[in-house]
Every structure is written in C-alpha cells, then in structure tokens.
Symmetry: C2
Subunit: 274 residues, 2 copies
DNA sequence: CACTATAGCTTCCCTATGGAAGCAGATATT
DNA sequence: AATATCTGCTTCCATAGGGAAGCTATAGTG
C-alpha cells in the first residue's frame, strides 16, 4: 500500500468548515454525523485512501461520546464507504465495480408499486410433474402440481410472463386462495400465512421462445431476462418453482456505486459481521 | 395485522434449549447472539410475525448488557431479519421476493477471481465522439475519446465482451497505463490513483448483434446480459462509458432470501438509517 | 549495526446507567 | 357509557468509562 495522508492537502477543493451537530434536531446525533461524513466524501474532501480522523478526534471535534462515534464508523463500514484496520486507522474505501447490486425490489414495485400493473391469470391447472420439474422440486415424477401461468401488463403493454409450479398440498388452504386471486401475493409477501421460509433466485439472459415472444408481443427473435425462483417451505422441502420472463427492453435494473454529490442515498452493502 | 404470539407453541418443532454465550470464545458476544437468533429463525423456532423477546428479556436470558443487545437487534434489523416497532416490539420479518439482490461482485470475480479469466485487448484507438456517446459523456461531439474493446475468456471459451469509451485527458497518466495493460484494473479498483468517484450501472437483456455473437462464439440469434456503466471523475464529470456483453448461458447471478438451515451466510440488506 | 523492548497511538468490544418517545391496557373521571 | 388520564411496557438514543488487541516508531540493548 502507498502512503496515507492524514490531512489531505487539496487546493482544488474549497473545504467548507466542518458542519457541527445540531443538538435540537429531530435527526439523531449518530445519523447527523454519518450524513456529515458522507457529505465530505461526496464533496471530495475525503478521498479513497485518506484516513478518517481517529475516533477520539471525532469525539472531540463534534462533541459526541465514543460510543456514538463507534456506531457511526460501524455504519459507514457497513455501507462500504470506509474500511477499518485494527491498530492502524480507518480509511476511505475506493469504489469498486463489484459494489454494485441490483435489487429485485424493482420487480416487486412493478407489480405492487405506484401504478400497479395488472396481473392476468392465463392458466391454473393440476398437472403431473415431469422429470425436470420433479428434480427441481425434489419430488417423484408424476407428483401432482399446480401449474400456473400469469401475464403482468403495464400501460405500455405486457412486461412479464410468469410460470410457476406449486406442490399440491390440500392441507395448505392458502394455495387455493392464491389461485383464485390473480395477484402475486404470496410470492410477494402479502397477507396470509407465511409459507415461504427461504428461497434461491437466479437471473440470466435468455432467448424468448415463440410462445413467450407472442405473449409478450415481442417480434422474435427477442431477448428476455429470466428470473428463476425456488422457494422452500418450513419443512425445508421445495414448495414452488418458477420463473419470470421479462422483455429485455421493458425491464431494467439500476444501481449506483460511490456517492454522488446530489443523491446522497445510501447504497446496499455488506453487513456488520460477515 | 393479526395477533402475535409471544411464546409460539409449535408441537412440530423440537426447540433446543437456548444456546448460551461463551465468554471465552474469540467470537464477540454480539456476534454470538446474532448467530444464535439467526439459528432460531433458521430452525423455525422463530417465524415471521413472532415477537422477539424484549431487549430487557434478552439481557437477562443471555446475561449481556442492554447496549450489546441493542447492537444485536440493530444488526438483525439491518439484515432484514427483524423489524422493530417503537413501543410495540420487535418482530420477525417475513421473506419477500424483493429482498433478493444480485451482486456484481460475481462479474468481478470472473475477471480477478480464483482462476482469473484472461482479458484480451482487441482494440484501443482514439476516436471522435459520435452523437450518442457525446450525450452520454456530456461532452461535445467530436471530442477525442479512447475507444477500447476487450474480450474476457474463461476456459470454456469467451464469456464477456467489453466496450468502453474513455474521455481523453493527457493530464491523466493512468489512462495510458490502463491501455497498455490488458487487465481491467482501474475499472475494478486495482492499485493506482483512484479516479472514479461514483458510477451508475444498469443491467438488461439484449439480443446479441452479429459481430458480438461472433466474438462470443454464440450462434445467432443469441441473448446476452448487457451491463452498462457510466463512471464519474472527481470533478463530477463523466469519465467513461461502456458496457459488458455477457453470454446469457455463461453468466448467471444468484441470490438467496431468508435463512436456510445449512448456509447461515448473511444476506445483503438495507443499512441502518435510510 | 542488528535486534528487542516499550510507549503511544489506533480500532474494537463490553458494561452500566439514564432518559426520550411511543403503544396498549387499566383506571379514574365526567 | 364514553372520555380522559395514568401506568407499565416497548423500542430507541446517548453518555461515561474500562479494557483488549494490533500497529508503528522510537529508544534501548546486545
């Protein structure tokens, strides 16, 4: 590693005098301090490799207790803005491409967001599991499954095509209700019994099949985003398997890395203890 | 909302007696407690909607101080496992599809990971900005840019095709070095001056063009994952624009939601203060 | 000179304590 | 009976203080 400057000398940046804590604000002290330091990073006052003032210094400079400063540093570390090295110091972390993360929340917003897209149930029948499906769901071939196909439409047209296999279990009444309604609640954590314990997701780009392209009103050949999901029930057995097929030109996930000057929104990053 | 049970009665689950804190362990107390509670969620002892024991109760039960318990709850909240409601209690949060997040780290691993794929520089010339590129980079058309094309190959064959436009600035020596090397350092936060302040990423599915398909050795028509990136320098001006084009069948992002019984790995989630 | 000990800094952990704000149910009042 | 108040719980915030472990540079020792 190179040498670190404790007091970076930047003639090109007019560093504003350090903001101070407002004791009367509704915003908690720790949040204020987090915001202040983030601002300094956003303004380029603090740059990657620079050493953050030591915790003791921060205590004196802002007049807060050590515990509060500790918490602030923890949060900044969780946010990936800063990295602490035991015995050496805390340093501003350079931006990496790998910091970017794409949240599936966008897909959820699309269904239940501000202008909730309509969900049309195309089919819902009981079928026997074929080989591949049985393998995915960890059941025997021929096992009775609920087969569902849905189409999610926005104003501009169809966006997403959803296929799902549900293990048929008469003891789970919610499944019946879920078929009845055309919404995707259950998958999206609406009301009702929590059935899903955990799930495995994957995302990839695929070529749309003829049927799929027709449903999505995309002239073939067309590309789509395929989001596969496998959910497990509380007995740790697979409960549902399916995938979303989204028109590539109508669904797009975005992400930010680093801190821009305008949007001071937090970025999802690793948590406190790996 | 329905009614919450403080002491859930589950005959089907043999709840083990609550693990206790090992004072001599290297693992910090707060981390142990986080692990213990995560385990209880994984084992189904605690289920969505259930109320976590109050902080005071946790203090007594595990013999730790309130501040430590507070920290534990904070971490669990950051991880999206629990949600606290002021004055009411802390409750286990149900799993939602939107929790899933796909980390671009996978792409970074692909380049600089265990078996580092080779990066071949196909082209590196200076061009004038066309209209679209000028718009993206916020410069005038005709502006001198460095145009680069790279191919990332794994053992199985080409995986990723990378195109990038860099604003030409003689005052930035690193750019010269970056062209010389075939690696993608600079983009991936290798050594050298930190140039990138922040960036905007997006991911979508596209149809590969003929040239692209040929380079990636995919018989057209083929789908690909397109990861676009726009990076900003410290003067807040766009510095580079480009995109990765990855064969859909050779790059796949995965994610987990909820806590499975085996893998007790943490999941990326929102941070402390939004 | 080469090597070792030490002092002073750093991050990091944990405790004990006090108080604010919010919710819910019981009690008292109108 | 309906309304208001109060009490006990909850999550949260912040403080003060102590100690462990790790790094680094200096002073001391062979």
């Amino acid at each position: 590693m190179g040498t670190f400057r404790k007091t970076p000398d930047r003639g090109d940046v007019d560093a504003p005098s350090p903001e101070s804590i407002d004791r009367d604000s509704d915003e908690p002290v720790y949040a204020q301090l987090v915001r202040i330091i983030r601002r300094q990073v956003a303004d380029g006052v603090l740059r990657p490799g620079d050493q953050l003032p030591s915790e003791a210094q921060l205590c004196r400079r802002y007049g807060v207790s050590p515990m509060t400063v500790r918490r602030v540093v923890n949060i900044l570390s969780d946010q990936g803005i800063v990295v602490g090295e035991q015995g050496r110091g805390t340093f501003i972390r350079p931006v990496e491409l790998g910091d970017a993360s794409f949240q599936l929340q966008r897909l959820q917003d699309l269904v239940g967001g501000d202008q909730p897209a309509s969900v049309r149930l195309l089919q819902a029948t009981i079928v026997g599991a074929d080989r591949k499906t049985a393998e995915k769901l960890g059941c025997v071939p021929g096992q009775r499954l609920i087969y569902m196909r849905r189409l999610i439409e926005a104003e501009a047209g169809p966006v997403c095509y959803h296929v799902e296999y549900l293990v048929y279990d008469p003891a789970r009444p919610v499944v019946e209700a879920e078929i009845a309604t055309t919404s995707l609640q259950g998958l999206f954590g609406g009301p009702g019994q929590p059935l899903i314990k955990h799930g495995e997701l994957s995302i990839e780009a695929v070529l749309l099949g003829d049927d799929e392209a027709r449903l999505l009103q995309a002239p073939p050949p067309a590309a789509g985003l395929r989001i596969e999901h496998l959910f497990f029930a509380y007995d740790e057995r697979p409960m549902s398997w399916g995938w979303f097929l989204c028109r590539g030109d109508r669904l797009r996930f975005g992400s930010r890395v680093g801190i821009s000057q305008e949007h001071l929104a937090p970025e999802g990053k690793s948590v406190d203890e790996p």
